[in-house]
Symmetry: C2
Subunit: 682 residues, 2 copies
Amino acid sequence: MMRMFASLLALVAAQPALAEVVATAASPDKAITVAVSIDNDGRATYAVTRKGKPVIADSALGFLFTDAPKLDRHFALVDARTTSADTSWTQPFGEWQTIRDRHTQLVVRLKEKDHDRREMQVTFRIFDDGVGFRYTLPDQPGLHHANIADELTEFALAEDGTAWWKPAYGWNREEYLYEATPISAVGTAQTVATFRLAGGTHVAIHEAALVDYAAMNLQRFQGTRFKANLTPGSGVPKVSRDAGFSTPWRTIAIADDAPGLYHASRMTLNLNEPNRLGDTSSWIRPGKFVGVWWNMITGKWTWSRGPRHGATTANVKRYIDFAAANSIPGVLVEGWNVGWDGDWFGNGKDMQFDQPTEDFDAAELQRYAKSKGVYLIGHNETGGSASHYDAQLDRAFKYAQDHGIPVVKTGYVTDAGQIERTDPDGSQHREWHEGQWMVNHYARVVETAAKYHVSIDSHEPVKDTGLRRTWPNWVAREGGRGMEYMSWAGKNPPNHEANMVFTQLLGGPMDFTPGIVSLKGNAGSDIPSTLAKQLANYVVIYSPVVMVADTPEAYARYPGAFRFIRDVPTDWSETRVLNGEVGHYVTIVRKARGSDDWFLGSVGDEQARTTTVRLDFLDPGKTYTAQIYRDGPNADYRTADRHAITIESKPVRRGDTLTLALAPGGGQAIRFVAPGSGTRAK
Amino acid sequence: MMRMFASLLALVAAQPALAEVVATAASPDKAITVAVSIDNDGRATYAVTRKGKPVIADSALGFLFTDAPKLDRHFALVDARTTSADTSWTQPFGEWQTIRDRHTQLVVRLKEKDHDRREMQVTFRIFDDGVGFRYTLPDQPGLHHANIADELTEFALAEDGTAWWKPAYGWNREEYLYEATPISAVGTAQTVATFRLAGGTHVAIHEAALVDYAAMNLQRFQGTRFKANLTPGSGVPKVSRDAGFSTPWRTIAIADDAPGLYHASRMTLNLNEPNRLGDTSSWIRPGKFVGVWWNMITGKWTWSRGPRHGATTANVKRYIDFAAANSIPGVLVEGWNVGWDGDWFGNGKDMQFDQPTEDFDAAELQRYAKSKGVYLIGHNETGGSASHYDAQLDRAFKYAQDHGIPVVKTGYVTDAGQIERTDPDGSQHREWHEGQWMVNHYARVVETAAKYHVSIDSHEPVKDTGLRRTWPNWVAREGGRGMEYMSWAGKNPPNHEANMVFTQLLGGPMDFTPGIVSLKGNAGSDIPSTLAKQLANYVVIYSPVVMVADTPEAYARYPGAFRFIRDVPTDWSETRVLNGEVGHYVTIVRKARGSDDWFLGSVGDEQARTTTVRLDFLDPGKTYTAQIYRDGPNADYRTADRHAITIESKPVRRGDTLTLALAPGGGQAIRFVAPGSGTRAK
């Protein structure tokens, strides 16, 4: 039927409507600009350029409500204010010790000229390497409560190109391989979604500070235009909030190349609120851990009780001994508690988070671990029964605190849309891992754990949006395909890490569980990786808590390689990505915190590849010893030579160049030992 | 974290899990087979082959609920029963007088082996040219009420190829151009979605009998695998139903070519329930109509009152005179009632559906029309205020009945997600045009109208799923980009009709409003079409009610061309698509009901094209007079020669061949006058 407004049609045809720019601002270095326009229907849009070239074409702003007219037009500008900031802050632990937060802020206040005269504010923060923006809906006569059906935010990429993405709404808890497709062939993607525009510019779209809101996915609408698509929940609106709140930040990192995107990812942390926990150095413990785990993944042991039960007192003591002997501070134990014996997948109602099984002597193991200078890492698998877990949170973390357990790994193994939620009135609901209710659940877990000085490593989590800045005890999470997928059929391909670094890992640390030096998975199957790559992943994939995931027996068979795993730290003062292409290769160097040693990791894809790096990161005037772990002659992820590794040392200095030769499916790890350094980094 | 089930992983990797075929059935001609499998997690899938080649690879079945575990695994087969049917039925009006319904039916009963022991039935109907299937959820102890968060139904196309689709969830009420992209580049598509697989097989996915349920969209998940994605509503679940119901049929039409898909579309009607209105011949009136409309679309007149008000008594009388002079039975009047003067777009709260404006003398026009043998067609524009309309339905249709108005065009002009719904308790909700609540609203309108012997032509409707079989008074609808888009900027491209015939129009008739012989739109802009194409569309685009959409003044300027518009009927006993390619061209012949005359329409795209058709549809032994309206020399949609038309007659017989030369943006229309035929078809 008739459309009264020719300008609406123009929008359909992707022609600019009669729109007027009402506010602009630029990054401190002037490279990136944001322009906010209002067209003659009062629709507000934003656009982003970099170095004068469009990156995000005019893209809609606004909200769809379940119980009120949508908020996306009839707008007039109330005012627009620009400020600037240049500060620095310190991470208690992390990839970088000091992070600079330098940006221009533009706050645009828009108000409906008629209808309900509602006000919507949009705050942009424009960094030299990206843009974040969020909405604020003030409490006002026309809007006391927001029942949000969806956000109308668009991201209209200015050019086609290549996208690296994984699907949203899958049953498999975000554990999908990243696909590389044309941007114009993306379906509905979880963020982080990474794009290389035809002209070469790299863009990563994500969000920061996801609090009391549903996670944002990107639904491709037409061409290269994406719409925000919030994760649903069982409640009516996707988000229900009293007005007077701000949404999470929508972030657009922009760089010339893939390494630039990694550096730009600090924006995510900058857009989160500062640390709320104060000095946590006494109780948050970054560090490596071993665990009763890989033998379950390969099928040798079981989580449930029985003849092959993994979490027995005797087994755990062997892991404690191994950890102590190798200065690894943590020992994870899975399957230690009551509740695993039945059909727990998607149904964790039997799980008791303070009741060990009878073959797990908690008091004795606490004593034994302490005597060896080691701590246990707890494990709370909910099977997706989140309300059941909610009811036990204090008990669970008091149990951990009482037993000297500083870190708990949580799990929510159930299909997407199948989280159990039982309300106080007894009503049953099925939630999504990334809906508003679960976002709040994960926060409740972390906040409750903090009271007991327990850190959380969430598996089957909501994605990372930088909340570790605010809650440093949220030390790591999963949310992707980790090393476990190398055990089973459908193994991760060789380029998986080079995909992950420039996609999911731009969001934050992942508990990837590297270091399977045996290169053997379920039923003796071969793992398609070289041995050197298993070492390189300790540098390439950042996490403050990192598993030394193979068995003690396996490490005993590869003592040379294991030395690197013993030496590599998990906390850094500086990180630089030296080179890389999304889905092909990446080389990262990190400087150990509290040490002058540097560590390098480089991983590739299925192709052999040689790259050259300059050692410009080393201190001038010093001679370092490079302890090199590289793919041996003929090393190849496809053959029995996958274990071939060459370990050698040589002196190097700042300005030297090193040639990194990666085998097919290979990698390289290097420790640069500074003069006067101890034999082992912290 | 750990996955216990290797088979789940196998599914991710698109490797067949350890699945066993538990039921199969084939179409009556054995060309198409359906196989239902259950894997070792008890997941049920279906697959479709045609002539031994996969068309739909193993695809999931099941439901996600908001308040109960999902129903998609742990299944065991209860039983599978196959029956066959071969019947025929008669359309009171339509493209075909008699429709054959020949199929094999396979009813598969699946029940959870453990957990809630819920039963789910899937009924397949396998035709020689496609498959329909629907779920039945019986009332049972574990499932008395279904709150459906989404359907888990998948459609895994077996090959990549080309897709023709338009996006779901857009703001513009489904009025988008169809895009042609790789299948693996579809976003989230409304149905009908049409696919040409790499091997050439044509597939159209849609649904039939959408009743008390949300419309199904197709969300591409990975590669060429699509998931059902139901349209949301403001209510918690996308669908809320007491158990003991069946879903709409999910339909997969399969053919060698585009014409085959058109013929296969009869499946949609076959899968709907029979006519519930009995003999409607006295009050449902297929036929052409003129109207006070195009002058509003071009901006000359207004819907609202004032100096340029269109729906005045004097203007309407001129249209009545024109209709009577040309044996056109209907005269549409828009803007005749109170409520248009304010800001009605998305807000029809002022609309009064039984209150004419003071310059519209309803009694006089009723009398005048009747005296001329013409009826008025009513118009109820709700501006999306559906509850406001609900409250007036009886008044609105009683008004129509009292004023001799047998057809009412309805309108819901508001953005997607913005339908006004006010519940009896006063609570406000915002609905989508295709959500469950609106599906039920459209049905309420049609059922209420039937009580008053009024037919409905829904604009901004829910898509057509063949319900005209059950409710023949639902005569037509819009739901796509009709001729009005030729008036404004962003005009329909020349291949629009060749897209529509093989996509949306596979769902059912559309009120496209053809026949703009002036080829002039808003502000005197040129319409990119030849004159001959405007005629051809009367055959190509089926609707039982068809507008003669231009002004009387325009038709007076093109009397030769207008003759075809006067002659062409709107009701047919037979329809055949002679040739065509999706988005490029199509030639259709239809036999006038109650006559031996045939009519041919052929339309193309922006290229000149010549096709040859054999006149095998004519009766043998008769000589027909072909009255041909073809693009004139140099006719071209881009130039002032777009009006060039050649009108000629020649004798033809069955078996003759005719060469159809289409100009760029052109078309051709032919009436085959049977010997002894009157000068005008019914």
